[in-house]
Symmetry: C2
Subunit: 196 residues, 2 copies
DNA sequence: TTTACTTATTGATATACATCAATGTATTTA
DNA sequence: TAAATACATTGATGTATATCAATAAGTAAA
Protein backbone atom coordinates (compact mmCIF):
# COMPACT_ATOMS: atom_id res chain seq x y z
CA UNK A 1 0.00 0.00 0.00
CA UNK A 2 1.05 3.54 -0.67
CA UNK A 3 1.93 6.31 1.69
CA UNK A 4 -0.29 9.36 1.91
CA UNK A 5 2.25 11.43 0.04
CA UNK A 6 2.48 8.81 -2.70
CA UNK A 7 -0.99 9.29 -4.04
CA UNK A 8 -1.43 12.92 -3.19
CA UNK A 9 -1.27 14.02 -6.84
CA UNK A 10 -3.04 10.88 -7.85
CA UNK A 11 -6.15 11.71 -5.86
CA UNK A 12 -6.02 15.31 -7.03
CA UNK A 13 -5.88 14.17 -10.64
CA UNK A 14 -8.97 12.02 -10.15
CA UNK A 15 -10.89 14.66 -8.23
CA UNK A 16 -10.65 17.05 -11.16
CA UNK A 17 -12.67 14.53 -13.19
CA UNK A 18 -15.33 13.27 -10.79
CA UNK A 19 -15.98 13.25 -7.08
CA UNK A 20 -15.22 9.91 -5.45
CA UNK A 21 -16.79 9.44 -1.97
CA UNK A 22 -14.63 8.31 0.94
CA UNK A 23 -16.01 4.77 0.95
CA UNK A 24 -15.32 4.08 -2.74
CA UNK A 25 -11.93 5.72 -2.50
CA UNK A 26 -10.84 3.53 0.42
CA UNK A 27 -11.98 0.48 -1.47
CA UNK A 28 -9.97 1.62 -4.46
CA UNK A 29 -6.72 2.72 -2.93
CA UNK A 30 -5.81 -0.46 -1.08
CA UNK A 31 -4.94 -2.16 -4.36
CA UNK A 32 -2.67 0.53 -5.73
CA UNK A 33 0.96 -0.41 -6.34
CA UNK A 34 4.05 1.69 -6.63
CA UNK A 35 6.90 1.14 -9.04
CA UNK A 36 10.09 2.93 -9.98
CA UNK A 37 11.82 2.51 -13.32
CA UNK A 38 15.11 3.77 -14.66
CA UNK A 39 15.82 5.64 -17.84
CA UNK A 40 15.59 3.32 -20.81
CA UNK A 41 13.50 0.68 -19.04
CA UNK A 42 10.11 -0.44 -20.28
CA UNK A 43 6.63 -0.46 -18.79
CA UNK A 44 5.13 -2.58 -21.57
CA UNK A 45 6.78 -4.09 -24.60
CA UNK A 46 5.26 -4.91 -27.96
CA UNK A 47 3.29 -8.16 -27.75
CA UNK A 48 2.40 -7.89 -24.07
CA UNK A 49 -1.15 -7.47 -22.85
CA UNK A 50 -1.64 -4.21 -20.99
CA UNK A 51 -3.42 -5.00 -17.75
CA UNK A 52 -2.68 -1.90 -15.77
CA UNK A 53 -3.57 1.71 -15.75
CA UNK A 54 -0.55 3.86 -14.92
CA UNK A 55 -0.39 7.16 -13.12
CA UNK A 56 2.95 8.80 -13.84
CA UNK A 57 3.96 10.49 -10.63
CA UNK A 58 7.28 11.83 -11.91
CA UNK A 59 9.39 11.34 -15.02
CA UNK A 60 8.83 11.06 -18.75
CA UNK A 61 7.69 8.12 -20.89
CA UNK A 62 7.25 7.62 -24.62
CA UNK A 63 5.39 5.04 -26.64
CA UNK A 64 6.89 3.85 -29.89
CA UNK A 65 6.73 1.08 -32.44
CA UNK A 66 9.16 -0.24 -35.02
CA UNK A 67 8.26 -0.25 -38.68
CA UNK A 68 10.76 -1.19 -41.42
CA UNK A 69 13.46 -1.23 -38.77
CA UNK A 70 12.79 2.38 -37.88
CA UNK A 71 11.38 3.64 -34.62
CA UNK A 72 8.22 5.74 -34.70
CA UNK A 73 7.48 7.64 -31.51
CA UNK A 74 3.73 8.00 -31.02
CA UNK A 75 3.22 9.85 -27.75
CA UNK A 76 5.02 11.41 -24.83
CA UNK A 77 3.55 11.04 -21.34
CA UNK A 78 4.52 13.59 -18.75
CA UNK A 79 4.24 13.58 -14.99
CA UNK A 80 0.87 13.73 -13.27
CA UNK A 81 -0.89 11.99 -16.14
CA UNK A 82 -2.74 8.71 -16.50
CA UNK A 83 -2.20 6.34 -19.38
CA UNK A 84 -2.34 2.78 -20.57
CA UNK A 85 -1.94 1.19 -23.96
CA UNK A 86 -5.45 2.10 -25.09
CA UNK A 87 -5.63 -0.52 -27.74
CA UNK A 88 -4.42 -3.42 -25.62
CA UNK A 89 -6.11 -2.42 -22.36
CA UNK A 90 -9.50 -1.89 -23.99
CA UNK A 91 -9.48 -4.72 -26.52
CA UNK A 92 -7.21 -7.13 -24.59
CA UNK A 93 -5.15 -7.78 -27.70
CA UNK A 94 -1.35 -7.59 -27.49
CA UNK A 95 0.27 -4.15 -27.50
CA UNK A 96 1.53 -2.94 -30.84
CA UNK A 97 3.70 -0.37 -29.11
CA UNK A 98 6.36 -0.29 -26.41
CA UNK A 99 6.40 2.16 -23.51
CA UNK A 100 9.84 3.32 -22.45
CA UNK A 101 11.01 5.70 -19.74
CA UNK A 102 13.00 8.58 -21.18
CA UNK A 103 13.92 9.60 -17.66
CA UNK A 104 13.83 7.82 -14.31
CA UNK A 105 10.14 7.65 -13.43
CA UNK A 106 7.82 6.86 -10.53
CA UNK A 107 4.56 5.08 -11.33
CA UNK A 108 1.37 4.18 -9.52
CA UNK A 109 -0.26 1.06 -10.97
CA UNK A 110 -3.96 0.18 -10.97
CA UNK A 111 -4.80 -3.32 -12.14
CA UNK A 112 -7.42 -3.61 -14.85
CA UNK A 113 -9.30 -6.28 -12.93
CA UNK A 114 -9.53 -4.04 -9.92
CA UNK A 115 -10.57 -1.05 -11.96
CA UNK A 116 -13.32 -3.04 -13.66
CA UNK A 117 -14.62 -4.29 -10.34
CA UNK A 118 -14.77 -0.66 -9.25
CA UNK A 119 -16.80 0.08 -12.38
CA UNK A 120 -19.24 -2.64 -11.32
CA UNK A 121 -19.49 -1.52 -7.73
CA UNK A 122 -19.61 2.25 -8.01
CA UNK A 123 -21.39 4.44 -10.52
CA UNK A 124 -18.88 7.22 -9.89
CA UNK A 125 -16.11 4.96 -11.15
CA UNK A 126 -18.13 4.00 -14.20
CA UNK A 127 -18.35 7.71 -14.89
CA UNK A 128 -14.68 8.23 -14.20
CA UNK A 129 -13.94 5.52 -16.76
CA UNK A 130 -16.18 7.13 -19.33
CA UNK A 131 -14.77 10.62 -18.88
CA UNK A 132 -11.18 9.36 -18.86
CA UNK A 133 -11.65 7.68 -22.24
CA UNK A 134 -13.48 10.72 -23.57
CA UNK A 135 -10.55 12.91 -22.61
CA UNK A 136 -8.02 10.51 -24.09
CA UNK A 137 -10.09 10.46 -27.24
CA UNK A 138 -10.29 14.24 -27.51
CA UNK A 139 -6.54 14.45 -26.95
CA UNK A 140 -5.92 11.95 -29.73
CA UNK A 141 -8.18 13.86 -32.12
CA UNK A 142 -6.22 17.02 -31.42
CA UNK A 143 -2.84 15.29 -31.73
CA UNK A 144 -3.73 13.67 -35.03
CA UNK A 145 -5.06 16.91 -36.38
CA UNK A 146 -1.87 18.62 -35.34
CA UNK A 147 0.46 16.22 -37.07
CA UNK A 148 -1.65 16.34 -40.22
CA UNK A 149 -0.78 19.99 -40.63
CA UNK A 150 0.98 20.72 -43.87
CA UNK A 151 4.74 20.82 -43.54
CA UNK A 152 7.13 19.16 -41.11
CA UNK A 153 8.59 22.56 -40.44
CA UNK A 154 5.19 23.79 -39.21
CA UNK A 155 4.79 20.68 -37.07
CA UNK A 156 8.17 21.29 -35.49
CA UNK A 157 7.46 24.96 -34.90
CA UNK A 158 4.18 24.05 -33.29
CA UNK A 159 5.87 21.58 -30.97
CA UNK A 160 8.48 24.22 -30.15
CA UNK A 161 5.78 26.65 -29.10
CA UNK A 162 3.49 24.26 -27.23
CA UNK A 163 6.08 22.09 -25.51
CA UNK A 164 9.53 23.68 -25.69
CA UNK A 165 10.87 21.79 -22.67
CA UNK A 166 10.29 18.46 -24.39
CA UNK A 167 12.78 19.43 -27.08
CA UNK A 168 15.37 20.09 -24.40
CA UNK A 169 14.78 16.84 -22.54
CA UNK A 170 14.53 14.44 -25.47
CA UNK A 171 17.19 13.54 -28.11
CA UNK A 172 16.54 15.05 -31.54
CA UNK A 173 16.25 11.68 -33.19
CA UNK A 174 13.28 10.84 -30.99
CA UNK A 175 11.67 14.19 -31.75
CA UNK A 176 12.26 13.45 -35.44
CA UNK A 177 10.64 10.03 -35.13
CA UNK A 178 7.68 11.72 -33.44
CA UNK A 179 7.38 14.18 -36.32
CA UNK A 180 7.64 11.33 -38.81
CA UNK A 181 10.81 12.61 -40.41
CA UNK A 182 14.47 11.56 -40.39
CA UNK A 183 16.85 13.16 -37.94
CA UNK A 184 18.82 14.50 -40.92
CA UNK A 185 15.77 16.33 -42.13
CA UNK A 186 15.00 17.72 -38.68
CA UNK A 187 18.56 18.95 -38.48
CA UNK A 188 18.09 20.85 -41.73
CA UNK A 189 14.75 22.26 -40.57
CA UNK A 190 16.43 23.55 -37.42
CA UNK A 191 19.18 25.13 -39.50
CA UNK A 192 16.59 26.81 -41.72
CA UNK A 193 14.66 28.14 -38.71
CA UNK A 194 17.79 29.47 -36.96
CA UNK A 195 18.69 31.45 -40.09
CA UNK A 196 15.17 32.96 -40.06
CA UNK B 1 -41.86 9.22 -31.70
CA UNK B 2 -40.61 6.47 -33.90
CA UNK B 3 -42.36 3.42 -35.22
CA UNK B 4 -41.29 0.00 -34.02
CA UNK B 5 -39.61 -0.73 -37.33
CA UNK B 6 -37.73 2.55 -37.17
CA UNK B 7 -35.55 1.67 -34.25
CA UNK B 8 -35.35 -2.05 -34.82
CA UNK B 9 -31.67 -1.94 -35.85
CA UNK B 10 -31.08 0.80 -33.40
CA UNK B 11 -32.04 -1.30 -30.40
CA UNK B 12 -30.08 -4.24 -31.79
CA UNK B 13 -26.98 -2.07 -32.14
CA UNK B 14 -27.27 -1.00 -28.50
CA UNK B 15 -27.99 -4.49 -27.21
CA UNK B 16 -24.68 -5.74 -28.58
CA UNK B 17 -22.94 -3.32 -26.23
CA UNK B 18 -24.87 -3.53 -22.98
CA UNK B 19 -28.22 -4.79 -21.79
CA UNK B 20 -30.76 -2.02 -21.22
CA UNK B 21 -33.76 -3.02 -19.11
CA UNK B 22 -37.30 -2.31 -20.34
CA UNK B 23 -37.84 0.60 -17.97
CA UNK B 24 -34.71 2.49 -18.96
CA UNK B 25 -35.32 1.76 -22.62
CA UNK B 26 -38.85 3.16 -22.55
CA UNK B 27 -37.56 6.26 -20.83
CA UNK B 28 -34.94 6.60 -23.52
CA UNK B 29 -36.87 5.93 -26.69
CA UNK B 30 -39.60 8.54 -26.28
CA UNK B 31 -37.12 11.29 -27.08
CA UNK B 32 -35.69 9.79 -30.25
CA UNK B 33 -36.20 11.74 -33.46
CA UNK B 34 -36.13 10.68 -37.07
CA UNK B 35 -34.65 12.63 -39.93
CA UNK B 36 -34.08 12.05 -43.63
CA UNK B 37 -31.45 13.89 -45.62
CA UNK B 38 -30.65 13.96 -49.32
CA UNK B 39 -27.36 13.37 -51.04
CA UNK B 40 -25.06 16.35 -50.57
CA UNK B 41 -26.89 17.72 -47.52
CA UNK B 42 -25.22 18.29 -44.19
CA UNK B 43 -25.80 16.97 -40.68
CA UNK B 44 -23.37 19.37 -39.05
CA UNK B 45 -21.25 22.09 -40.60
CA UNK B 46 -17.95 23.49 -39.44
CA UNK B 47 -18.49 25.92 -36.57
CA UNK B 48 -21.69 24.35 -35.24
CA UNK B 49 -21.90 22.70 -31.87
CA UNK B 50 -22.75 19.03 -32.10
CA UNK B 51 -25.59 18.34 -29.70
CA UNK B 52 -26.87 15.06 -31.04
CA UNK B 53 -25.78 11.50 -31.29
CA UNK B 54 -26.73 10.03 -34.66
CA UNK B 55 -27.65 6.50 -35.55
CA UNK B 56 -27.35 6.03 -39.31
CA UNK B 57 -30.19 3.74 -40.28
CA UNK B 58 -29.41 3.74 -43.99
CA UNK B 59 -27.11 5.68 -46.30
CA UNK B 60 -23.54 6.92 -46.26
CA UNK B 61 -21.97 9.97 -44.64
CA UNK B 62 -18.50 11.45 -44.64
CA UNK B 63 -16.79 13.97 -42.42
CA UNK B 64 -14.36 16.42 -43.94
CA UNK B 65 -12.60 19.68 -43.35
CA UNK B 66 -11.05 22.28 -45.60
CA UNK B 67 -7.40 23.16 -45.31
CA UNK B 68 -5.62 25.48 -47.77
CA UNK B 69 -8.74 25.40 -49.90
CA UNK B 70 -8.54 21.64 -50.27
CA UNK B 71 -10.99 19.15 -48.82
CA UNK B 72 -9.68 16.46 -46.51
CA UNK B 73 -12.05 13.57 -45.90
CA UNK B 74 -11.57 12.14 -42.41
CA UNK B 75 -14.06 9.30 -41.99
CA UNK B 76 -16.86 7.48 -43.73
CA UNK B 77 -19.89 6.39 -41.72
CA UNK B 78 -21.95 3.50 -43.01
CA UNK B 79 -25.43 2.31 -42.14
CA UNK B 80 -26.21 0.80 -38.77
CA UNK B 81 -23.51 2.83 -37.02
CA UNK B 82 -23.55 5.49 -34.35
CA UNK B 83 -21.55 8.67 -34.54
CA UNK B 84 -21.26 12.27 -33.52
CA UNK B 85 -18.56 14.86 -33.92
CA UNK B 86 -16.45 13.48 -31.09
CA UNK B 87 -14.56 16.67 -30.51
CA UNK B 88 -17.55 18.99 -30.44
CA UNK B 89 -19.98 16.66 -28.67
CA UNK B 90 -17.53 15.83 -25.89
CA UNK B 91 -15.85 19.20 -25.43
CA UNK B 92 -18.78 21.41 -26.54
CA UNK B 93 -16.49 23.45 -28.74
CA UNK B 94 -17.52 24.17 -32.35
CA UNK B 95 -17.04 21.41 -34.91
CA UNK B 96 -13.89 21.60 -36.98
CA UNK B 97 -15.40 19.27 -39.54
CA UNK B 98 -18.54 19.06 -41.65
CA UNK B 99 -20.68 15.94 -42.00
CA UNK B 100 -22.18 15.41 -45.42
CA UNK B 101 -24.44 12.70 -46.84
CA UNK B 102 -22.82 10.97 -49.81
CA UNK B 103 -26.11 9.21 -50.45
CA UNK B 104 -29.67 9.81 -49.28
CA UNK B 105 -29.68 8.78 -45.62
CA UNK B 106 -32.06 8.04 -42.77
CA UNK B 107 -31.00 9.11 -39.30
CA UNK B 108 -32.17 8.60 -35.75
CA UNK B 109 -31.20 11.49 -33.47
CA UNK B 110 -30.57 11.40 -29.73
CA UNK B 111 -30.13 14.75 -28.05
CA UNK B 112 -27.04 15.17 -25.92
CA UNK B 113 -29.08 16.59 -23.05
CA UNK B 114 -31.31 13.57 -23.04
CA UNK B 115 -28.41 11.16 -23.29
CA UNK B 116 -26.66 12.83 -20.36
CA UNK B 117 -29.78 12.67 -18.26
CA UNK B 118 -29.89 8.95 -19.04
CA UNK B 119 -26.29 8.73 -17.82
CA UNK B 120 -27.38 10.31 -14.56
CA UNK B 121 -30.43 8.13 -14.10
CA UNK B 122 -29.21 4.70 -15.16
CA UNK B 123 -25.88 3.01 -14.54
CA UNK B 124 -26.38 0.88 -17.65
CA UNK B 125 -26.40 4.04 -19.77
CA UNK B 126 -23.31 5.35 -18.04
CA UNK B 127 -21.68 2.07 -19.06
CA UNK B 128 -23.06 2.30 -22.58
CA UNK B 129 -21.49 5.74 -22.83
CA UNK B 130 -18.16 4.46 -21.61
CA UNK B 131 -18.05 1.48 -23.94
CA UNK B 132 -19.22 3.52 -26.92
CA UNK B 133 -16.34 5.97 -26.48
CA UNK B 134 -13.92 3.10 -25.89
CA UNK B 135 -14.96 1.54 -29.17
CA UNK B 136 -14.75 4.81 -31.04
CA UNK B 137 -11.31 5.30 -29.55
CA UNK B 138 -10.08 1.85 -30.57
CA UNK B 139 -11.44 2.42 -34.07
CA UNK B 140 -9.58 5.69 -34.32
CA UNK B 141 -6.34 4.08 -33.16
CA UNK B 142 -6.68 1.46 -35.85
CA UNK B 143 -7.61 3.98 -38.55
CA UNK B 144 -4.68 6.24 -37.74
CA UNK B 145 -2.30 3.30 -37.69
CA UNK B 146 -3.62 2.21 -41.05
CA UNK B 147 -3.13 5.53 -42.76
CA UNK B 148 0.35 5.84 -41.31
CA UNK B 149 1.44 2.81 -43.30
CA UNK B 150 4.29 3.55 -45.66
CA UNK B 151 3.13 4.28 -49.20
CA UNK B 152 -0.11 5.70 -50.54
CA UNK B 153 -0.29 2.72 -52.85
CA UNK B 154 -0.37 0.38 -49.85
CA UNK B 155 -3.04 2.52 -48.22
CA UNK B 156 -5.16 2.35 -51.32
CA UNK B 157 -4.69 -1.40 -51.69
CA UNK B 158 -5.66 -1.86 -48.09
CA UNK B 159 -8.83 0.14 -48.56
CA UNK B 160 -9.56 -1.87 -51.69
CA UNK B 161 -9.34 -5.11 -49.74
CA UNK B 162 -11.16 -4.03 -46.57
CA UNK B 163 -13.89 -1.89 -48.09
CA UNK B 164 -14.14 -2.43 -51.86
CA UNK B 165 -17.74 -1.24 -52.07
CA UNK B 166 -16.78 2.19 -50.78
CA UNK B 167 -14.58 2.73 -53.81
CA UNK B 168 -17.56 1.96 -56.05
CA UNK B 169 -19.93 4.24 -54.22
CA UNK B 170 -17.71 7.27 -53.69
CA UNK B 171 -16.05 9.55 -56.30
CA UNK B 172 -12.31 9.02 -56.69
CA UNK B 173 -11.49 12.55 -55.62
CA UNK B 174 -13.09 11.92 -52.25
CA UNK B 175 -11.19 8.66 -51.87
CA UNK B 176 -8.03 10.59 -52.76
CA UNK B 177 -8.77 13.23 -50.14
CA UNK B 178 -9.28 10.44 -47.61
CA UNK B 179 -5.89 8.94 -48.51
CA UNK B 180 -4.31 12.39 -48.28
CA UNK B 181 -3.20 12.48 -51.87
CA UNK B 182 -4.30 14.37 -54.99
CA UNK B 183 -6.78 12.78 -57.35
CA UNK B 184 -4.12 12.90 -60.08
CA UNK B 185 -1.83 10.80 -57.97
CA UNK B 186 -4.57 8.31 -57.15
CA UNK B 187 -5.31 8.01 -60.83
CA UNK B 188 -1.68 7.06 -61.47
CA UNK B 189 -1.66 4.60 -58.58
CA UNK B 190 -4.71 2.91 -60.07
CA UNK B 191 -3.02 2.76 -63.47
CA UNK B 192 0.07 1.19 -61.91
CA UNK B 193 -2.00 -1.41 -60.06
CA UNK B 194 -4.06 -2.33 -63.11
CA UNK B 195 -0.85 -3.01 -65.03
CA UNK B 196 0.35 -5.28 -62.20
C1' DT C 1 -30.01 15.59 -77.72
C1' DT C 2 -27.05 19.10 -77.18
C1' DT C 3 -24.82 21.90 -73.76
C1' DA C 4 -22.68 22.62 -69.71
C1' DC C 5 -20.42 21.00 -65.78
C1' DT C 6 -18.07 17.94 -62.99
C1' DT C 7 -14.78 14.25 -62.61
C1' DA C 8 -10.82 11.45 -64.34
C1' DT C 9 -6.66 10.85 -67.04
C1' DT C 10 -2.17 12.00 -68.79
C1' DG C 11 2.11 14.79 -69.30
C1' DA C 12 5.86 18.04 -67.83
C1' DT C 13 8.00 20.04 -64.12
C1' DA C 14 8.85 21.27 -59.18
C1' DT C 15 9.46 20.19 -54.23
C1' DA C 16 9.66 17.99 -49.80
C1' DC C 17 11.57 14.59 -48.03
C1' DA C 18 14.48 9.97 -47.71
C1' DT C 19 18.75 7.56 -48.23
C1' DC C 20 23.57 6.82 -48.05
C1' DA C 21 28.00 8.37 -46.81
C1' DA C 22 31.32 11.19 -44.43
C1' DT C 23 32.60 13.91 -40.64
C1' DG C 24 32.01 16.35 -36.39
C1' DT C 25 30.34 16.71 -31.64
C1' DA C 26 28.55 15.05 -27.42
C1' DT C 27 27.96 11.42 -23.69
C1' DT C 28 28.99 7.31 -21.55
C1' DT C 29 31.99 3.83 -19.89
C1' DA C 30 36.41 1.91 -18.65
C1' DT D 1 41.37 11.08 -19.05
C1' DA D 2 41.05 8.22 -22.93
C1' DA D 3 38.45 5.34 -25.64
C1' DA D 4 34.09 3.90 -27.15
C1' DT D 5 29.62 4.72 -28.37
C1' DA D 6 25.76 7.32 -29.46
C1' DC D 7 24.02 11.47 -31.53
C1' DA D 8 24.00 15.55 -34.78
C1' DT D 9 25.43 17.90 -38.96
C1' DT D 10 26.37 18.42 -43.83
C1' DG D 11 26.60 17.01 -48.76
C1' DA D 12 25.20 14.41 -53.00
C1' DT D 13 21.66 12.03 -55.02
C1' DG D 14 17.10 9.53 -55.52
C1' DT D 15 12.01 9.07 -55.05
C1' DA D 16 7.22 9.90 -53.90
C1' DT D 17 4.10 13.06 -54.45
C1' DA D 18 2.34 17.93 -55.59
C1' DT D 19 1.26 21.41 -58.94
C1' DC D 20 -0.15 23.26 -63.24
C1' DA D 21 -2.00 22.52 -67.68
C1' DA D 22 -4.36 20.10 -71.27
C1' DT D 23 -7.54 16.73 -72.74
C1' DA D 24 -10.95 13.07 -72.19
C1' DA D 25 -14.77 10.91 -70.25
C1' DG D 26 -18.72 10.81 -67.66
C1' DT D 27 -23.12 13.08 -65.67
C1' DA D 28 -26.59 16.39 -65.10
C1' DA D 29 -29.29 20.28 -67.05
C1' DA D 30 -31.59 22.84 -70.78
Amino acid sequence: MLSKEDFENFKTAIDTVVYIPELAWNDFKIQLQKKTIKKGEYIWREGQICNHLVFLKTGLVRSFSISDGKEITHTFYEKRNFFYDDYSFLSQNPCKKAYQALEGSELVLVSRTHLYSMYDKYKCFERLGRIAVEQAHIKMIQDVELLNKSSSEDNYKHLLSTNPSLIQRVPQKIIASYLNITSEHLSRIRLRISKG
